[in-house]
Every structure is written in C-alpha cells, then in structure tokens.
C-alpha cells in the first residue's frame, strides 16, 4: 500500500464496485453507512483486491445490507451469525478474501459469543463493525453499545445499562488488528480497512456512525451538524488519551471518563487458524 492514497471519484467507484440493480439503498438520510461503504471501496481499490476472489458476509440489520451493494460474492446470513458463516467459508477455502459487515447489535449483542470465539481462533477475516448505538432496522431499541442514560424505544426513561467497548474486548482476546474510527474523517478508516484486509488473522475495524432516524432523534442528535459535533466532542485519539492519562492533571483525567477512544489499538502478527490448520495437515496427511 502506497503512502499517499490516490482516490477515485465516487462515480468511478460506483461504476467499478457496486451491484447497480441493488440501488437505491435502504439507508435513511444522514445515516453513516454510505460513508462506510465508500471507505471500504476506496480501501479495496487501493489494494486492487480481486473481487472475483472476495466474499462479503453479513448478518442482519442496516449495516448487514452492505454486503449486497458490493458487486462480488455476498452472503447475507442470519442475525448475529455472520462470523460463523464467514469462518466456514474461510476455513474451507483459505484463498478467498472474506470481509464481514456487521453492526453493534448483530456483532456484539446476539453475535457476541461468535465474536469472542472467532477472535480467539484467529480466523483470517476482516470485520467492519458499524456501531450506531442502537438497533436501527427495528426502529431504535437499546443495544449493548447504547450510552448510559440514553433514550431508545425500549429505554423510554433512559438506559440504565453500561455499554460494551467492543474494541477493548477484541484487544483483550488477542485480535491482531483492532481499530475504531468515526466517519467524519475518511483517511484513517480507509487506511485501517486496507490494513485489516492485508492482516493475516482477525482484523476488527469498528466504525462509529450516526443514526439520526432511530437513535439521534430521541437523544437530541437529529441534525447532522449536531451529531458530527457530538462525535468530535465525545471521541479522543488513543495517543492523546494515553498522554493525558500519564501526564494530565486530575481534572483533565476526569474529563476523559465519557470519551470514546479512537485510533489503532492493536497491530501485531499472530498465525491464523487457516495457517495453523495447513501446518497440521502437512504433518498428518496421508
């Protein structure tokens, strides 16, 4: 991957990478999923990935519709189970690139156990997990990621539960590549998606996207300017976070408690399931 991205225009990307008969998308105005798709396409283009040898797998939910918009083999599976199907594809045919689109509810709620074990196994998958803090497709119910005290259709008096930090979980489980970005900065996520695809083993890229329709309008975040400002105010780069934690005043440190960390949290090498299986086969095959 070259240091400087030479981005194609959106029109050029559409022509090359999208399944035209699937359009228009199901996404609402102000939704960030289009940006995630765009960044993914730019990353594919940067890598010149062979779409004939790439499978896009997803579960159920708004973000899981993304697999259908890319003109490649795609599998829109059952709710929460994308990683199980993707693991089957990758284990049976390790030469294929397998990219998973999932959401916070799909990937870390109903699919939480699969996330845990797919990371532990270190399946060579690139997982783009889109976190909009809610179950959007069903109209905005509380999710494992919904911020505390937020409102949703099933927390009409405020959310009393603590949200899950998916990246911290992935990091603890030993995922070779873990990053989180918001969509208002295109370059870091494009770079991370490309790095994730190239990484052997499990790569998780969590994308924070606004959902003005289902989440935002119940939490004073319906207007796009307000939402993007909220993300700017509530996120902090991991390097800045660590600097303040080490050198900041008690007041500065206290101000970090409700910030969402963004950045690349983990990036190291670890043999994948497929590689270890291939080694085992070499040893025992007849």
């Amino acid at each position: 991957m070259s240091g400087l991205l030479k981005l194609k225009t959106a029109a050029e990307l559409r022509q090359i990478y999208l399944r035209h008969e699937m359009f228009p998308t199901i996404f609402c105005d102000g939704c960030g999923l289009g940006n995630v798709l765009n960044y993914t396409l730019w990353a594919l283009d940067e890598l010149q990935l062979d779409l004939d040898r790439t499978v896009f797998v997803s579960g159920i939910g708004c973000s899981s519709r993304l697999s259908g918009y890319v003109n490649a083999d795609g599998m829109h599976t059952t709710h929460g189970r994308a990683l199980a199907f993707a693991s089957g594809i990758k284990a049976a045919q390790p030469d294929l690139n397998v990219i998973v689109f999932t959401g916070d509810g799909d990937g870390s709620g109903i699919g939480g156990n699969h996330l845990l074990h797919t990371i532990r196994r270190n399946m060579d998958l690139t997982v783009i997990l889109v976190n909009n803090f809610t179950y959007g497709m069903t109209g905005g119910q509380v999710a494992p990621t919904t911020p505390i005290d937020s409102f949703s259709t099933t927390t009409p008096y405020g959310n009393i539960e603590y949200p899950l930090d998916i990246c911290a979980l992935a990091q603890t489980l030993g995922a070779p590549y873990v990053a989180r970005w918001m969509i208002n900065q295109p370059y870091p996520p494009i770079k991370s998606i490309a790095q994730g695809i190239q990484k052997r083993g499990f790569a998780l890229i969590e994308m924070l996207v606004p959902c003005p329709t289902a989440y935002g309008r119940r939490n004073g975040l319906k207007q796009l300017e307000t939402i993007w400002q909220w993300y700017r105010d509530h996120t902090i780069l991991i390097d800045d976070y660590e600097h303040i934690m080490h050198f900041g005043s008690p007041e500065e440190r206290a101000a970090l408690h409700d910030k969402i960390k963004i950045g690349v949290f983990q990036d190291y090498e670890r043999e994948s399931f497929e590689e270890r299986w291939a080694t085992l086969v070499e040893q025992v095959k007849l």
Binding site: M75, R81, A84, D95, L96, W277, L280, L286
Partner: protein, 392 residues
Amino acid sequence: MSTHRDRLRQAMGDKVQFVQGDDACAYGAILAGCTFFAGYPITPATEVAERMAEILPKIEGCYIQMEDEIASMGAIVGASWTGVKTMTATSGPGFSLMQENLGYAIMTETPCVIVNVQRSGPSTGQPTLGAYGDMMQARWGTHGDHEIIMLCPASVQEAMELTIVAFNLAEAYRTPVLVFIDGELGHMRERLVIPEDDEFELVERTCATSREGYRPFAADENLVPAFAPFGAGFRTYVTGLTHNEAGLPRSASAPIHDQLVRRLADKILRNTDQIIRYEEFGAEECEIAIIAYGITARACRDVVEEGRQRGLKVGLLRLITIWPFPDEVVARWATRVQAILVPEMNLGQIVHPIREAVAGRCPVMLQSKIGGELHTPTELIDALEELRCQVC
C-alpha cells in the same frame, strides 16, 4: 501412487470393522466426499465429530469445532458455498439450536447433511439414552413453510449407507438433508463393511457453466438451480430474505415469495419417487401391519417371523425416508390390512402422518415407549395380539 479414494480408505482403516453407529455416519460422509465438518460436542453424537477430526486432516479436508451448534450449522452452510460437501452432527439440544440456520440452508438452497443422534427430551432429558422425540421437530422445527428430507437408518451398516444417500440427495436437490439415528444405534457396535467405490453411487451438485446471463436461483426442469461456488467469478448474492431468480431481495413481493417458497417445496414433493425409500416384510397375506422406523424396526423384523409362527399374519413396513412422508405407500398398506400397529420411541409422532395417510381405512394403534428402553419382541407380540382381538 495412491489415489485420493485410496487415501480415504486408508484414513478409515480396515474394510471390515466393529464400530458404532456414530462412526458409521462419519465413514459414510467420508465415502460421499465430505471434506468439511463443523461441530460441537454433545452426547450421544460426539463420536461423529471425533471420527471426522481424526480423518479430515489426513485427507486434506477441514474440521473445525465451533462455539455452539448455531455456529456449527452456519459454518457448514458457509463452507458449502465454496463448493465442498459439508456435514455437522448433534443431538436434541443442539438440533434445537440449529433450527434457524437450517431454515437458512433451505431458503438459500445449500447442500449439507445434519446427523441427529437423538436422545430423550424435552430439555437435557436423558443424554445417554436413545429416543425418537425429534421426528416432528425435524419436519417443522424451523419457522416458515418448507419441506425437508430425513432418512432413518436401522443398523450401523445402514447408518453409513444412508449417510452417503443423504449427501447425494443434498447435492441433487440443493437442500439440507437429515440423518436421524438415536443414542442406542449411535453407540451400538456392529460389524461394518466399507463398500468399494463401484458398490455405491455418488451425486454431485449441478454447477453453472457460464457466467453469461447466469441467474443463481433460476431453476431447471427439476426445479433445482445450477450452483456457482464462491470465488469462481459468478458474483452471487445469497440471502435468507425472499429473493428473485437473480438472488436480489424482494421481501415485499407476494408473487415472488409465493413462487420461491412453492418451488422450494415442489422440488422435493415432485421428486418423492426418487427420494422415498422403504422396506416391506410379509406384505403378502398380511392382516396386521407394523409400521416402524429406526432402531425400533429391528425388533419388529423379528416379530414378523415369530408372529407368523404363532398364526398372526403380521407384516412390516419399515420407513427409511420419513420426510417427505411416504403417504402413498402407507395408504396402499392400509387398503390391504385390518389394523396397523405403530411402535414409537416417543409419545406418538409419526403415528400422525400415518393416520392421515390411512384416512380411516383401518384402526391405527400407537405403541409408545419412552425412557430410553427399546420395544421388546414380547411387548410387540402382546400388542399385536391385543390388536387382533379388537379387529379380527
């Protein structure tokens, strides 16, 4: 230079073995060309996974132990889309967990085989003992309108043979196929003879030949679409949503849903003559018939001989294919006999489609037995005597 088929045989070991029903299912899968198994340990089905874990790396296949049965079912469906033959094995609690992705396999026309070594339920029940309590779950367990294919072997040898048949049917009709045994048959050891390649048939899914104008869910005259594996450049989109022939979601269309779901059912219902298997004993001059399946049919086979020696004109219809249900075969027997005995290791499940097929032509008596013990020949003879007193 040994061929791939030679290596399969070498991986399984001796041609004649003394093995369990679970082992036989694994051997059947290997003979059928299965190269991918995903599973989760569960009594009394674990030995299927153990055999596959041992054999698959030797033949350059892949075994993966998943985190649960939901994931196992998902993994075999995903793997099948790369063009390989896939299987999982489980028992009742695990089969319950597989239901959603089983429906996905039906909807997306994914060939795969699921072995269920049944144990008593509900819930954890009797893990080490046999039962046939999942017969109706197999038929209706996953939500929505659908057909399913299920085979019920009665011996270790047949468990192997019917697992091969299950793969053939899965490939031919692009649908999941169930092999249902029970804890007794799964753990029972019998003599097993591994057949030579010319002693059985192998069917492979029909693959698409040209990308030009390819429509992944447009069916042939047999109602089955041609398959294009992932990675071959066909760029297929697979979804569990109602989809058109191009594979695109059309979940709000009544005509497209009607056309799709009826075709999925019809590809099985219009080919029942190719799918349905059964065995008949003492069909001639028969007054009382036993209709049985699975391990229960073994005692019934003895009872036909013994009953006839006692002057009871008994016959046995052993159902091998349970779903789609062989109602024409049952109806034909019902016209010739005065009563039908249905021994089942459940509280009465297959007796219902039997009664529907019999349609009042003769009395149908259920002989239910649960708790993990098999029907004994004496119990069966007693039931037949009782039935004769009622009708003759």
